[in-house]
């Protein structure tokens, strides 16, 4: 059942702590469907997702000039040869799906602020090992830490063709992202994302409600867990550490 695959990406250690910040509606959806959501790369907010850093683009231009026709007949025009790399990548952006986690021992104040834009939110705490171990899917799931690059200077550090989807600009370094990735079929119906079934009991170590959330917010989260048959996890619901009182 476990299908996460290691290639030459940057795998965290299995005990690495990971967090996912979602709003209450997404949390309820996750409990109701017992699934996590993989978003299509081309639909992500950062339009640089799945694009080439400058050195890689320059390299690929050079690669195009080093394309070698083997038995390819002349009726297949030079256009195909020239566009091969770019077309493959644009097509991939429409059928590569990702699910993103923050890796860190503690909560991230920055990600709480980001999550709060969408309304009342929670953070699910797990480990990388639990995350990949709880995914039940017949398709191949890739995983890696995201590498943060200077897109003007740094080439894609992975040689695998999907490696570009584990790269972001340095402006996002604070996200310390661990990412799961799935590739859909070219002929598959275009989808905004893919739901992947997951073992929630194995995945969830703790649910943390947003800083400054009122007490009834905790009650809502606990009752959602009970409502969806996960009552044992209700005791794992906590207030944010950011709400602790300072000592003067």
């Amino acid at each position: 059942m476990i299908s996460a695959v290691q290639i030459e990406f940057d795998q965290p250690n299995l005990p690495t702590r990971v967090w996912r910040h979602i709003d209450l509606a997404q949390f309820a959806w996750m409990l109701a469907t017992r699934a996590i959501w993989f978003s299509k790369v081309s639909s992500l907010e950062d339009k640089f997702e799945g694009s080439y850093p400058v050195p890689t683009a320059e390299r690929l231009q050079a690669v195009e000039s080093t394309m070698e026709r083997l038995e390819l007949p002349p009726e297949v025009g030079q256009d195909y040869v020239r566009d091969y790399s770019g077309r493959t990548l644009k097509s991939l952006r429409e059928r590569v799906y990702v699910n993103c986690w923050y890796s860190g021992l503690n909560e991230s104040a920055a990600l709480w602020q980001w999550a709060e834009r969408k309304g009342q939110s929670v953070a699910i705490r797990s480990t990388f090992g639990r995350l990949i171990g709880s995914c039940a899917h017949t398709e191949r799931i890739y995983s890696s830490r995201v590498r943060y690059l200077n897109y003007q200077k740094d080439p894609v550090p992975f040689s695998h063709r999907l490696g570009i989807f584990f790269c972001k600009r340095k402006s996002f370094e604070h996200e310390r992202e661990v990412r799961l990735l799935m590739e859909g079929l070219p002929t598959q119906e275009e989808l905004p994302g893919v739901a992947v079934q997951i073992d929630l009991e194995q995945l969830i170590q703790r649910v943390v409600v947003a800083p400054r959330a009122p007490t009834w917010h905790l009650d809502v989260v606990r009752s959602l867990l009970e409502r969806y048959g996960l009552g044992e996890l209700a005791q794992m619901v906590h207030k944010s550490d950011l709400d602790r009182d300072p000592i003067f």
Binding site: A62, V63, R69, L70, L72, E75, Y84, S159, P186, T187
Partner: protein, 111 residues
């Protein structure tokens, strides 16, 4: 449904070294991922479009064969010579001497 057919070596993109300005000269071995569905790009005259997916297997003699081709609603058009159509692989080579299949071209000559 299309009968299994040979996969011809279509083209390969060689890796380059940064700043070296040229291709890395390696003797590469062609490889495919068995079980994976590869996109099939149709080339027929001026028509170039994704036409479905297929799987690839290595035969006992070392050659590759296209099988389980599933077209995404591909419609045959007048003037296409299917009897002479062939599958070609587009490979990407790396510095380690692997040429990995990226996609498959279905080239349909015009009569």
């Amino acid at each position: 449904m299309v009968d299994p057919a040979p996969l011809h070596f279509g083209l390969v993109s060689h890796p380059v070294k940064y700043g070296a300005g040229g291709a890395v000269e390696v003797d590469y071995a062609h490889s495919v991922e068995e079980g994976r569905r590869y996109p099939v790009i149709l080339h027929a005259g001026n028509l170039h479009e994704e036409a479905g997916t297929c799987r690839i297997r290595r035969m006992a003699n070392g050659a590759f064969e296209v099988f389980d081709f599933q077209s995404g609603g591909l419609e045959l058009q007048f003037g296409w010579d299917l009897a002479d159509s062939k599958f070609y692989g587009s490979f990407v080579a790396d510095e380690d001497g692997r040429a990995t299949l990226e996609e498959v071209l279905l080239v349909v000559p015009q009569q």
